[in-house]
Symmetry: C2
Subunit: 344 residues, 2 copies
């Protein structure tokens, strides 16, 4: 177990290092607020902390930098939740104050604000429309071979997909299909839609539509599309300002991964709700061994529907970023929920 003094020193070193990005020496720690020991004493403690794995030395006679274990301990036990500055609060507030009606807009802007307020890159996943309920189906024929199928959910989300029309379907068939679907499926959550179609609507369709099988493929294709979660980015360029990414090769590897939606998913997808902090190697990607990712889920109507996260160097301003993310994910959840529930 670490002594209080060790904890204090560890904290001071990490706080300092987060600011300066340079190895911290015993002298500067001995001069920091509330520390009343000489550099020599600090040095002894630092040697112990290094032996315990909380600190590292870039080379034998340099100052110390935090190890991943050090950051982990800092994050888990030392970090005091940071109060947002007035400016930050104002910024976030103004985002949610405007009555923006489209979920996608709110989510996009959250990404932008998050990256503007930090010097890191922000990523937002979602919101998933899986839980939301079908409000309306519309099928609009464009010409003899193609039609646009449109789904609208109770959250105002619109999904559309252009499909080829089987020869066998004529425009009265389309109308019939749309009518049947609307009749039977309004209020059904999207994730149950496919099942419901098979179990309850198939028979009906069969009666009224000549080639009901073709009609299925058609609805399936449209549903498929709504499953993909969207990804929004903000301020990727910010990372280039961080001294740890002055090496182009490193940045390249990071950006390559961030360019692919599916790996971004893996990076951010939380295995639990609430705040998740992944430091360095905890990210399981070599390119991200010098990065930390902080993410939090946001909810609609109590159920998590997406993730808001930030990517920065392991030397991240954890207290501030954590405060911001918590605040934003809360705000985002409230905004989404307020927009579309309880008849409001």
């Amino acid at each position: 177990m670490l002594t209080d003094r060790q904890l204090f020193i560890l904290q001071a070193i990490i706080d300092n290092y987060i600011q300066s990005a340079e190895p911290i020496g015993s002298r500067s720690i001995s001069k920091s607020d509330g520390m009343s020991y000489s550099p020599a004493t600090i040095r002894n403690e630092m040697a112990d902390l290094e032996e315990l794995g909380f600190l590292e030395k870039p080379h034998s006679s340099s100052g110390r930098i935090p190890s991943e274990k050090g950051y982990r301990h800092y994050v888990d036990h030392l970090l005091l939740p940071h109060r947002l500055s007035k400016k930050e609060i104002q910024n976030v507030r103004s985002l949610f104050a405007e009555k923006i009606l489209e979920a996608e807009q709110v989510v996009k802007q959250s990404a932008t604000i998050l990256s503007d307020l930090t010097s890191y890159a922000s990523i937002v996943l979602g919101p998933e429309v899986f839980e939301s309920k079908l409000k309306h189906v519309q099928i609009i024929p464009l010409n003899a071979q193609a039609a646009v199928a449109i789904l609208v959910t109770d959250t105002g989300h619109v999904e559309n997909h252009t499909v080829t029309l089987p020869e066998s379907l004529n425009s009265t068939d389309l109308e019939k299909i749309a009518n049947i679907l609307n009749d039977r499926l309004e209020g059904v959550p999207l994730y149950k839609l496919q099942e419901k179609i098979y179990k309850e609507v198939a028979g009906l369709l069969k009666q009224h539509v000549n080639s009901f099988h073709d009609a299925f493929r058609f609805t399936e294709e449209t549903l498929q599309k709504s499953k993909q979660e969207k990804v929004f980015y903000g301020g990727k360029t910010n990372l280039l300002s961080q001294p740890e990414f002055k090496d182009i090769e490193k940045v390249k590897m990071i950006f390559e991964i961030l360019e692919q939606d599916h790996t971004v998913h893996e990076l951010l997808k939380p295995e639990q709700d609430g705040l998740v902090i992944r430091i360095g190697q905890e990210n399981n990607y070599e390119a991200f061994e010098d990065c930390s990712i902080i993410s939090a889920t946001y909810s609609f109507d109590g159920k998590p529907v997406g993730t808001i996260g930030i990517v920065g160097p392991t030397r991240m301003e954890y207290p501030r970023v954590i405060g911001l993310i918590q605040h934003l994910s809360k705000g985002l959840s409230d905004a989404l929920t307020n927009l579309y529930t309880s008849g409001n």
Copy 2:
């Protein structure tokens, strides 16, 4: 006027420099194919070409690199249109072979292919939906205060916008509005929509709907959104592989500009149809003084609706990129046009 030999040398230098990214010396030119003069002769010619402004020296005793004027002359007079390799042709063909039905998909994939085949960053604007014609309007109430308005065009493009409902509009009003709009506006190109509403539909609405003024704001908001052109990117990370962008500061400036849709517009927007090549300072952005941008418009039904372009270092593989872009913009135009015209 330049002699044939000077032109030949200029071309050889540029071809070489595009490959190697290093200043070219007289010796290496004298050994290139079809050149039968000694280094000393070449040196004399090179000195002349420098005096004429086609070449530059990074420092007094180094080899030559092309100046912007040099590139310009190369592009305008020397460059022989490059045949695409079989692999490239195949790649592009396979893109347009699949019957993708959504314009946005095709456009996105074009960006991806373009950046995959080059080592540069691709950008695609559009397609504009301005010329396309209204097929259907739908208004779907979500709750007492909000509704989703949906526009579908004859090209299968769907635009949706969530709007607040004025207290004064009830759901029968909404139906009426939608019916009136559909009746009167089907087939009208989007860019004429607003005008048409005011001139021809206003009166009708006034008769049937209590607060017709509110109804307008509503349609306007939705139209507004469809005006923004979309921007797709591909392979921005590629730029990091180019030796001229090993300097983080440069890359940062470039990426910052590429992150803003409106500056990207300015960079790519062609003042004429067809192929446009902007070399270095011709881009009018300081950050892009070492970049060239090659872009071409693509069309729907004969009218230009978007731009496909590529951003790379001034030392760009002009012949290949030009070949590719021409091929792609042609393919893109054909694909779009075939998808939605002549009842096909």
